[in-house]
Amino acid sequence: MAFLEVKGVSKHFGGLAAVDKVSLEVNQGEIISVIGPNGAGKTTLFNMLTGAHALTEGEIIFDGEPIHNHTPQEIVEKGLARTFQNIRLFPELRVIENVLIGMHIHTQYSFLDILFRTKKFRKIEVEKHQRAIDILDSIGLKQQVHNYAVNLPYGDQRRLEIARAISTNAKILLLDEPAAGMNPQESEELLEFIKELRDQGYTIILIEHDMNVVMNISDRIVVIDYGKKIAEGLPEDIATNKRVIEAYLGRSE
């Protein structure tokens, strides 16, 4: 039983099949990259995994439990967190607050604890703040703690989004084009950072266009074109696969 099983999932918008019977399996600790031309249905697949879109058909089993068509809140609680293609941080909130919000689901105290600021409340608050600082320290954003998310440079915002996903205690991270808009030096740092995440035991599913990042970080690659899975395998096989080249470079009639 793989860690995450996606069985024949489809999503139809009216007549159009944005995602058409895609199946794939992800094992614990793996890095899977999902590639394909723009508009192939990659982000839609992510939306289906995270509960943003309901499935037209198919099933998603995560760690043995079905999660398809569950609410985004339930899916995050099960341990599947995501970042967004166009960054969706909380702009006018502080960096530390963005990370703390990721921890919302695991901050267990009641409304009465809040009102009377009980010892339990204060202990958990300190603990959560402490963990938030550790996470921010680990991704090199510690000195930005007081700054507002909207003021951060682009690269830092990307990393803050990943830090926020980590803070939800997720087991699987869905990174939607994390390297988009990054210069080579920044995407190199990102590469290292994702490798460290994998070493810490995180399972990562990546949507990415930067072939340099994809080729040397992924354990396996899944290729999607027009909503269908047209190939799956090791980076080397995918690089030489005829159908993949056609999908990218166009049919040679």
Binding site: Q73, L100, M103, T107
Partner: protein, 360 residues
């Protein structure tokens, strides 16, 4: 003219931010001085008229804090908060006049009845967003006013409720003359402020702010947005009802025309002028906007034209309000957080995270 206006204007903006930073830098000193002053105010205020204005400032601060939770922190615009103010006032007035219940019994009941009103309004309308929600709350307020006007058997309709008794503790009547009402207002104000600060500085406060900033991202982070929006509405209605109950006993006569659309807009303007998503902004906003008509009484009929102009200018040149927007001062960590803990072992591995949980 616009250029000159802009020039004149950013001198105002600089002046405001300089003042603000000075205030944040010397917070401790201010609060001690303020506490002493609050206790002595009734004795140093030149007349009961001033004392009454300060009490009204206090009431509108409570209302602004309540509305601030919904509009300032959660970003949901409500144009009908006068309805909870009215529900609180009428419940307390009717209970005390018909059943002769003491103030300290009728007030909590009125606040709870208002909170139920908040639930009634909150549940169905919070699926709506933005403009639709604003209009629904406005409709709700007009309907509440119609009920108060037409349900003659209970609310006495247009005749209103008169001779509402003064609050009394063990028979000792609190009136304006013996400053009892003033201290009662201060107690209610402290209670509301403490609750609001507690809520804002907790996971609920952060969840509300997340909903304001980006509701979809908040959902993706596992926040049950509808639950928190309704909860914010109910809490806000509770404190608005509290303010309404106190107001009824202060003024001793209420009728449906006391709680009109203008009242809701007055509360909203205080929240916006003071600064959305702040606590001390509410005090400042209500102090300015309540004393504004009194101080500018000599303007007679031009008063409300100036009032409109202030709203328009505020929105154009400083929409985040006086105290709102990004603060220069640092984020306040809960006491006990160690900033630079040299974590020997690796940073945040899945396993390490569990040990921290278990260890402490």
């Amino acid at each position: 003219m616009a250029k000159k206006l802009a020039l004149k204007n950013n001198t105002i903006v600089d002046w405001i931010s300089k003042l603000r930073n000075y205030y944040y830098a010397h917070k401790k000193v201010f609060f001690i001085a303020l506490a002493v002053l609050i206790v002595l105010t009734p004795y140093i205020s030149p007349s009961q008229y001033i004392l009454r204005i300060i009490i009204m400032v206090g009431i509108y601060t409570i209302l602004a804090l309540a509305l601030g939770l919904v509009t300032g922190y959660t970003g949901q615009v409500s144009l009908g908060h006068a309805s909870f103010y009215a529900i609180g006032a009428y419940t307390s007035a009717l209970l005390s006049t018909h059943f002769g219940l003491n103030f300290f019994i009728t007030v909590p009941i009125s606040a709870i009845v208002a909170a139920i009103g908040g639930l009634l309004l909150g549940l169905p309308t919070l699926r709506l967003s933005g403009t639709y929600l604003a209009i629904a709350t406005l409709g709700f307020c007009e309907v509440v006013r119609m009920i108060l006007l037409n349900w003659q058997s209970v609310t006495n309709g247009p005749l209103g409720v008169s001779k509402i008794p003064r609050p009394s503790i063990f028979g000792y009547e609190l009136t304006l003359a013996n400053n009892g009402l003033y201290y009662l207002m201060i107690v209610l104000l402290i209670l509301t402020t403490a609750c609001m600060i507690a809520i804002v500085r907790s996971k609920m406060g952060r969840a509300l702010k997340a909903i304001r900033e980006d509701e979809l991202a908040a959902t993706m982070m596992g926040i049950k947005t509808t639950y928190y929006k309704v909860l914010a509405f109910v809490i806000s209605a509770f404190f608005s009802g509290l303010a309404g109950a106190f107001y009824a006993h202060l003024i001793r006569y209420i009728d449906p025309n006391t709680f009109v659309f203008d009242t809701s807009i007055m509360i909203l303007s205080i929240v916006i002028l003071g600064g959305m998503g702040t606590i001390n902004g509410m005090f400042l906003g209500s102090a300015l906007l309540v004393s504004f008509p009194e101080v500018l009484r000599f303007l007679q009929e031009y008063r409300f034209v100036v009032y409109g102009i202030v709203l328009v200018m505020m929105m154009r040149f400083r929409p985040q309000g006086i105290m709102g927007g990004q603060k220069k001062s640092n984020y306040q960590f809960p006491s006990g957080t160690i900033m630079n803990r040299n974590t020997t072992q690796t940073k945040f591995s899945l396993s390490q995270e569990n040990s921290v949980e278990g260890g402490v």
